[in-house]
């Protein structure tokens, strides 16, 4: 099965250089042979692998008569999933459900499996981006693309975009925003810690600018795959 690699490095920070840039992204689509679509996606050292199956056969209990049911399973590197992972699954599912044109496939299931490969900070955003790539590869009908960006505020109130795990440990607030590609509007936010509403707005604007780079990266990766 041919895999399509794509990197974007030069204009992004290599490691812990400027706090206002995204870490370099790297992605490979159609990595798995049995799934309908798959992608591995990494931001810096953070890496996730997603597989999309569907629209396929649905269990009777999960069947919805007016739209496709979207299921997300999050697989950890080790151990059993706890509350934190269940919340991540829920956020991922809601974000995907917003993007997928689910009404086109009533009484079907779209199953998404995400495998954690390496977590080095801003992992949920990496997962969302990874799932978006996998859905693009699977040609699931979508209203728009989604891209997620993490940003944090440290004790001095400075903004750090796409923080690493060590940077994450001394943040006072962490925010994750997911944007859609047609008007760059927010479709999901997830925040922890304390911050003022002004700080929130500033983070929102910075992350929106950063999301445009991710959308461009999606486009470049798919163009490379489809030009073969």
């Amino acid at each position: 099965m041919p895999a399509h690699r794509s990197t974007m490095g030069s204009k992004f920070r290599t490691r812990s250089s400027s706090p206002m840039e995204l870490r370099p992204m790297l992605s490979e689509v159609s990595v798995l042979s049995r799934s309908d679509g798959s992608a591995s996606f990494s931001q810096g050292d953070c890496c996730a692998l997603a597989a999309v199956y569907g629209p396929g056969e649905v269990k009777v209990a999960k069947e919805l008569s007016d739209k496709a049911s979207v299921e997300v399973v999050f697989k950890m590197k080790v151990g059993l999933p706890g509350c934190k992972e269940k919340i991540q699954e829920r956020i991922l599912r809601n974000t995907c459900e917003t993007a997928i044109a689910a009404t086109l496939y009533p009484r079907t299931a779209i199953d998404i499996v995400i495998q954690e490969m390496h977590n080095s900070g801003s992992f949920l955003a990496t997962c969302i981006n990874c799932v978006c790539m996998a859905m693009l590869d699977a040609c699931v009908d979508m209203k728009y693309l989604v891209a997620a960006v993490t940003c944090g505020l440290n004790s001095e109130g400075e903004l750090i975009l796409d923080p690493t795990l060590e940077q994450e440990s001394d943040l006072t607030a962490l925010m994750i925003f997911a944007y859609e590609s047609s008007n760059f509007e927010v479709i999901a936010t997830y925040t922890t810690g304390s911050f003022t509403s002004d700080q929130f707005q500033i983070c929102l604007i910075h992350c929106r600018e950063a999301s445009k780079h991710i959308f461009q990266f999606f486009r470049d990766t798919m163009a490379r795959k489809l030009s073969k």
Partner: protein
């Protein structure tokens, strides 16, 4: 605004070039959604256009979405009263009535077993209903449809390869057929059944088909020549 021939992603707006006087009449195929006067892309692929005003997105999908009138290869999974359930690779199993075979009557039932391959046409297929398969044309003839018997080999390929095999500018089947006689059934659901004179030839043909996805006609010719040489012992 995306142009014809370029790579498009979900959410992109498409500008349609409408040549006829009646600008409201145009056909949007798979991968395009129309809301009021705007056309939005819903699948990643390459935007294609056919005169006068047909537009669609050519994508590399693996999952089959049943479409009315398409020929598919299915696997019989269940016998339920007077219908068979057939797996056609979509989200739901298709139903196939025992009367929709050539020459079948209530007395004279067709000989169909669970696990058999059937080559049929989708009579009913829309998102709200169960797909229905028939192995008979509207004038009562089988037209090559029905249960596929006597061995052979069935394998699955991406849907874009199926479209390539069936298009008139692809010479793969013709070139292969010059050298080796074989039978083939191609389903739009990504399933291909082939049968050569021997198991060896069947394997060779199936390998040739599944490797042709990204080849152009020149490369296909070369590949076929190599294959025939290898089969006859000139390596």
């Amino acid at each position: 605004m995306a142009e014809v021939g370029s790579v498009v992603l979900p959410g992109d707006q498409v500008r349609l070039m409408i040549n006829t006087e009646d600008s409201t009449r145009f056909v949007t195929g798979p991968g395009l959604r129309r809301d009021s006067d705007q056309v939005t892309v819903s699948k990643a692929g390459i935007l294609k256009h056919k005169e006068p005003n047909i537009y669609w997105v050519d994508s590399r999908q693996k999952r089959y979405i049943p479409t009315k009138g398409e020929n598919v290869i299915g696997i019989v999974t269940m016998k339920a009263g007077d219908v068979f359930r057939v797996d056609i690779g979509g989200s739901e199993q298709a139903s196939l009535s025992y009367l929709s075979f050539e020459g079948a009557t209530k007395r004279n039932r067709p000989d169909v077993k669970i696990g058999d391959l059937v080559f049929g046409r989708l009579l009913v297929s829309n998102k709200d209903m169960e797909p229905e398969l028939v192995c008979i044309s509207s004038n009562g003839r089988s037209n090559g449809m029905g249960v596929i018997r006597d061995g052979g080999f069935m394998f699955t390929v991406p849907l874009n390869l199926i479209r390539k095999l069936l298009s008139s500018d692809c010479n793969l089947l013709k070139t292969l057929g010059h050298h080796l006689p074989f039978e083939v059934a191609i389903g739009m659901n990504g399933r291909v059944w082939v049968k050569g004179r021997s198991v060896r030839e069947t394997i060779a043909i199936s390998n040739a088909i599944s490797s042709a996805e990204f080849m152009d006609n020149m490369q296909i010719k070369m590949m076929c020549n190599k294959l025939v040489d290898a089969l006859t012992g000139f390596t």
